[in-house]
């Protein structure tokens, strides 16, 4: 049997549904020593802002039960260095690039997209309106449906590439956000970004993370992410990229069943930097065993 792992996110065709999540693989340099990026559906690059950002002071991460908190604060090299140094490297590796953009103002999103519009190897933009770890922008945008609408609208006007809006899970009605994104012209949504969490040292009584709160990721949030994807799938007709706590191929199948067209792997890369390619192999096996010719047939195939 011929197994077809390819999936379509709007006009974007990917060789398989496995993407690497923004912020969990940098710009591909380091992880490329462990895994073949040319075989992955796409790499979503670390959130890029117009100017470089130092990020938050340490301590930035802490482990929690089946998860971790991070408050990296969007540390990144800035748009210029990204274009000059990072894109050429990824091109050389034959990686499919989705560029994730973060910004503190509506104009900054637009400006970034306009500049990057001419980078041929960027196949799509993922618009991060949901970073919990920065003071300006971030969840001020991501938890406000009007902002999400406006940002989508303006970004849509500024690019012909597919745009994916990365949604915040810290809201009771994520499907309303997906609906707005769709209405304003988004090609897809990613769900979910991290959930706001914290952790304190009981002796010093200080937060373990300098930023006080951080974003919770990892297996702990998987049930929540699945519920958010399902909620969107049942209410809005837009391709969904599922993210949150995926550790193995079973998790991928579960996300696709509840409605994801593709998925992203985040925290799992830290533990096994080759996990994405292992998962792709495992998905082949699963599809063969289950006689699933097109993996895309899994999407939204839940039986309720």
């Amino acid at each position: 049997m011929n197994i077809d792992l390819s999936v379509n996110i709007g006009s974007l065709k990917l060789k398989n549904p496995i993407l690497l999540a923004s912020g969990t693989v940098g710009y591909g340099n380091e992880i490329s020593e462990f895994t073949d990026l040319s075989k992955i559906g796409a790499i979503v690059t670390k959130s890029i802002s117009l100017k470089p950002r130092k990020g938050n002071p340490p301590q930035r991460i802490v482990e929690t039960p089946s998860g971790m908190l991070n408050a990296i604060g969007l540390a990144n090299v800035g748009l210029e260095a990204f274009v000059k140094e990072k894109i050429p490297f990824l091109e050389k590796l034959n990686a499919t690039i989705i560029c994730n953009i973060a910004a503190s103002t509506l104009d900054e999103y637009v400006e970034c997209v306009k500049i990057l519009e001419y980078e041929k190897s960027i196949k799509a933009f993922e618009i991060n309106v949901s970073c919990p770890n920065v003071k300006d922008g971030g969840l001020i945008f991501g938890n406000d449906i009007n902002w999400v609408g406006k940002i989508t609208e303006q970004v849509r006007k500024s690019t012909s590439k597919p745009i994916i809006i990365k949604l915040s899970p810290n809201v009771p009605n994520i499907s309303d956000f997906a609906a707005v994104a769709k209405k304003e012209g988004a090609d897809a949504v990613s769900a979910i970004n991290t959930l706001v969490g914290t952790s304190f040292d009981i002796y010093t009584r200080k937060p373990k993370i300098k930023n006080i709160t951080g974003g919770l990721s990892g297996p702990a949030i998987k049930p929540i992410a699945l519920a958010k994807v399902l909620e969107i799938k049942r209410n809005v007709d837009i391709p969904i990229i599922g993210v949150g706590g995926i550790m193995n191929w079973k998790d991928v199948v579960e996300f696709m069943i509840v409605g994801a067209t593709a998925i992203q792997i985040g925290t799992a890369n830290f533990i096994n930097p080759n996990v994405s390619n292992e998962i792709i192999n495992d998905l082949y096996k699963f599809c063969s065993e289950q006689k699933i010719e097109n993996i895309s047939s899994l999407t939204g195939s839940f039986q309720i």
Binding site: G23, T24, V25, G26, N29, E30, I31, E33, F34, K46, K54, G55, P57, P58, Q59, R60, I61, V62, E63, S66, G67, M68, N70, I72, A75, G218, P219, M247, T267, N269, F270, I271, N272, P273, N274
Partner: protein, 250 residues
């Protein structure tokens, strides 16, 4: 850098709270230099979630040694490994100690389990006069195999000098007439701070191996920054864990 399925050759309790682990790790052992570390998956399940970083304690043929103390759940699980168990290890990671031929005398300064990388470093420092300053909580916490020329301090005075290792260092440095000294330090942050101060005041070249919480261990999570004196951040896992003491703000 390799993801290697290593095989446990032994795990031994060498001190009440200190364990020595030996694994067969062909790839890692052949590439490692002193001061580098590995990121160890202590269990085969998703719990604990993250790997645990440990300095390379020593290398012997195709084997890698780790020396660790029981801290929390992860180190406890590691201490319970049995001969023949498989452990998934990523390594060697980071930049180790710079071995520079310009120096005649080497001071190794260890605080507690910070002694871990020094046997490998000692072995790598051929033709040097090495003095090891080793501070521990008490006698029971001293594991000094494969160290040479050791001067001890204990917090409770149960062995060697009564006080901390920097006080010991200050005391000893006056005594002799050392030439061309280089210091390598590893231990808890307060000790490294004191050592940094000491080396700056005495204008001695000094490299420090520092610690931080880590998620990935090789530069993809940006979770382990350290402030540098030129007002930026470096990554402890990738740019370190060994830094020149002048370079970093502890």
């Amino acid at each position: 850098m390799h993801i290697e399925k290593t095989i446990v050759q032994f795990v031994e309790k060498v001190k009440p709270n200190i364990f020595l682990l030996k694994v067969l790790a062909k790839n890692i052992s052949s590439k490692a230099t002193a001061g580098q570390f590995c990121n160890i998956k202590v269990s085969e399940t998703d719990f604990p979630l993250l790997r645990r970083p440990f300095s390379i304690h020593n290398i012997e043929n195709e084997s890698v040694y780790f020396l660790f103390d029981i801290h929390g759940e992860g180190t406890k699980i590691l201490s319970n490994k049995k001969v023949g168990d498989k452990i998934d290890i990523i390594g060697p990671l980071g930049n180790g100690f710079n071995i520079d031929d310009n120096y005649e005398t080497i001071f190794l300064v260890a605080g507690g389990i910070g002694v871990a990388p020094f046997p490998f470093l000692t072995k790598s420092l051929t033709n040097k006069k090495i003095i090891t300053f080793y501070g521990a909580r008490n006698k029971d916490y001293i594991y000094d195999k494969n160290l040479i020329n050791v001067k001890y301090s204990t917090d409770d005075g149960s062995y060697g000098f009564h006080g901390n290792v920097i006080e010991l260092l200050e005391k000893e440095i006056g005594k002799n007439d050392f030439h061309n000294i280089k210091i390598y330090g590893c231990g808890p942050t307060p000790m490294l701070k004191a050592l940094q101060k000491f080396s700056l005041e005495n204008k001695i070249d000094c490299e420090l191996s520092v610690e931080s919480a880590m998620a990935c261990g090789f530069g993809i999570c940006q979770g382990c920054p350290i402030e540098t004196t030129d007002n930026s951040y470096k990554l402890i896992c990738k740019d370190g864990p060994v830094f020149n003491s002048k370079e970093i703000i502890l």
